[in-house]
């Protein structure tokens, strides 16, 4: 049995999956922590088996794995991975650690247009990390923190200013949960406006690490006015896309 290996090296985490032509048979994830090359090597050695016939890398560190047979951008990989997890979607939104992308797909699941916000940390995972740090809330407790909260308005457009805004809101006695929900809404609003430039239609797939938090999905849906779906492997969408592309490369060769 042969397999394809896909690795997505992002700024926050490195993800890898093994794909056997039908399904994802194994996945791994580690934090990047400023060492993309070492972390990619680590994921590679954890997933590599002699059955691996093709390795494809993606993400900002995609050029750093010497064993890779091919590198593909995260735009193409997220699109492929997402339409594998959820066929018939019209658009993919990925909120990554240092950028945010919206990709529209044609009826065959190929990229027809995309937009990237890569100039500014607002509206990216970095904004959420900052929020968690200031509010002293581990990421897996976000959901609990915001349940039943009524959001406060966050007006700052920039991560640096938003940080001081949060600090003064705390000083004013605002609830942590209310602030957190306010921050999440501001990220989702910005992401939705940005994605709307592509005039998305149909179902939207939400990929990347934040897709694991229901509150992000719900808020995004509210601002987009379109159904937003996620998958338990949402965070691996890029890696899955890379593995799929590797698999096709293998099979085109025969």
């Amino acid at each position: 049995m042969s397999c394809a290996l896909g690795i997505d090296c992002g700024s926050t985490t490195v993800k890898g999956v093994l794909f056997d032509g039908e399904r994802v048979v194994k996945q791994e994830i580690v934090f990047t922590r400023a060492r993309p090359k070492e972390r990619m090597a680590e994921i590679y050695s954890r997933l590599y088996t002699p059955a691996v016939c093709c390795t494809v890398t993606t993400g900002y560190g995609r050029a750093l794995l010497p064993q890779a047979d091919k590198t593909v951008t995260e735009i193409t990989c997220h699109a492929r991975g997402a339409s594998f997890l959820h066929p018939h979607i019209g658009c993919v939104i990925d909120i990554g650690g240092q950028d945010c992308k919206a990709i529209s797909l044609d009826s065959l699941g190929f990229v027809s247009d995309f937009a990237m916000n890569d100039k500014c940390a607002a509206g990216t995972g970095r904004f959420v990390e900052m929020m968690c740090r200031i509010l002293d809330c581990p990421p897996d407790e976000i959901e609990r923190l915001v349940s039943g909260a009524s959001p406060v308005e966050i007006t700052s457009m920039c991560t640096v200013f938003a940080e001081s805004e949060i600090i003064s809101l705390l000083a004013d006695g605002c609830e942590r949960g209310d602030i957190a929900l306010g921050v999440i809404r501001s990220i989702c609003r910005r992401t939705a406006y940005f994605a709307q430039k592509l005039h998305p239609e149909g179902q939207v797939f939400f990929s990347g690490g934040l897709a694991g938090h229901e509150v992000f999905r719900r808020e995004l849906e509210g601002f987009l006015q379109l159904p937003v779906c996620v998958h338990e492997l949402s965070q691996y969408a890029g890696a899955i896309g890379a593995a799929l592309i590797g698999w096709e490369k293998l099979h085109r060769k025969g």
């Binding site: 900002y60 593909v72 951008t73 995260e74 735009i75 193409t76 950028d99 190929f110 990229v111 027809s112 247009d113 995309f114 990237m116 890569d118 100039k119």
Partner: protein
């Protein structure tokens, strides 16, 4: 008037290459050749050429002097405007330094306001370019062309005859034809060279003042490329063919072309200024009224400072077909409002009417976005 013919005080601090271009310019000045510095494709170069002046392009393409410019100008302004102003202020550009007259036009808002400050320390003349291409506009532009001729006569104490203007038109037409023949080589499929090499030749040609020599050189180069063309064994086979449009590019913004071509695409034609926009059309040298012919030809240019701007679409439409273009990339300089706003219409035309992929990128003269540009262009190429 006396021409500027001494070196600037900062000369000694320059590197070899820059010193050399100052020396070359100085030698021309010593032969009594006046320099007329220009910014924009709308300027009828034939008029200064008619009095034997060298027409030098002053659109600066490097970020080097932007910090100096930002002492006077807002930060959030097009880098081309800031950089040009900065070079003028610091005497770091030989062409600025030796320009006996600098001519601007009322094109975009940023430029026309910048000229007001430039005039405080350089001899500046501004032509009033209308913002539309109506018959009234043509009448005004024709008057402006004649007034410009009179300004040159008065400034340099000379007379420009109609015959000299016609001569210059013929020479300029021949130059345009030679450049056109060269870039038309890219109609071949596969293309005979990379877009970055084509661009270097086109950009370099604007710094060659001996037009006769330039024409000959271009003809030889065209013949050479044709002779060496080997479609069967071309390493450029099968690359998607890209048309580049938008703000003027060059220098640092060449990074976009490089990002495209490093990721497997092939730029086959430049619609921007320094590409087809400024070279495509000739002036009717035999027209009864040569000033009318000049005014018509130059007012026709499809720049985004015109409203509406149908000629840009018309030119793109033709180029897309002639060059068998697969995708369009628009490069917009940061804070360039006219091209930025017009990009919506260009996107609609390219994706709607021509059914081709389109992407626009906003960039400046820094290298800080090289990584992101690379990903963006790679993803775009994967999509074609």
């Amino acid at each position: 008037m006396k021409l500027i013919d001494t070196l600037p005080e900062v000369f000694e601090s320059f590197n070899e290459q820059r010193k050399n271009s100052f020396i070359t310019a100085l030698q021309m000045k010593e032969q009594g050749i006046p320099f007329v510095g220009v910014f924009c494709t709308y300027l009828p170069q034939e008029i200064p050429m008619a009095m034997g002046a060298a027409v030098v392009g002053l659109c600066s393409m490097s970020g080097e002097t932007i910090p100096d410019a930002e002492k006077d100008l807002p930060r959030n302004l097009c880098p081309l405007i800031k950089s040009s102003y900065g070079f003028a202020k610091t005497d770091k550009c030989p062409f600025f330094y030796f320009s006996d007259l600098i001519v601007g036009e009322t094109t975009c808002d940023g430029k026309k306001k910048m000229y007001e400050y430039l005039a405080e320390f350089k001899p500046v003349y501004v032509m009033e370019l209308p913002n539309s291409q109506s018959s009234d506009a043509l009448e005004l532009w024709k008057k402006e062309v004649i007034r410009f001729k009179e300004k040159l006569e008065q400034h340099f104490g000379t007379v420009i005859t109609e015959e000299q203007v016609r001569q210059a038109v013929r020479l300029k037409n021949a130059e345009r034809a030679a450049l056109r023949d060269f870039y038309s080589l890219m109609k071949l499929n596969p293309a005979p060279m990379l877009g970055q090499d084509l661009y270097k030749v086109l950009y370099g040609s604007t710094f060659k003042f001996d037009k006769e020599a330039l024409i000959k050189e271009m003809q030889e180069l065209t013949a050479k490329v044709r002779a060496e063309y080997d479609p069967q064994n071309s390493p450029l086979k099968g690359r998607p063919r890209v048309l580049v449009t938008g703000s003027p590019i060059g220098g640092v913004t060449e990074k976009v072309i490089r990002a495209l071509e490093d990721n497997g695409a092939q730029v086959v034609v430049f619609e921007n200024c320094s590409g087809a926009k400024s070279i495509d059309e000739d002036v009717d040298a035999d027209a009864a009224d040569i000033y009318d012919a000049l005014a018509r030809r130059y007012l026709n240019i499809g720049c985004s400072c015109m409203t509406p701007n149908p000629n840009r679409i018309r030119l793109m439409n033709r180029l897309i077909d002639e060059y068998q273009v697969d995708a369009v990339v628009e490069v917009i300089l940061q804070a360039c409002h006219t091209y930025n706003v017009e990009s919506l219409g260009i996107r609609r035309f390219v994706t709607g009417e021509k059914k081709l992929p389109y992407i626009s990128v906003e960039t400046d003269y820094s290298t800080s976005d090289t990584g992101q540009l690379n990903t963006r262009m790679a993803a775009f190429v994967e999509m074609i």
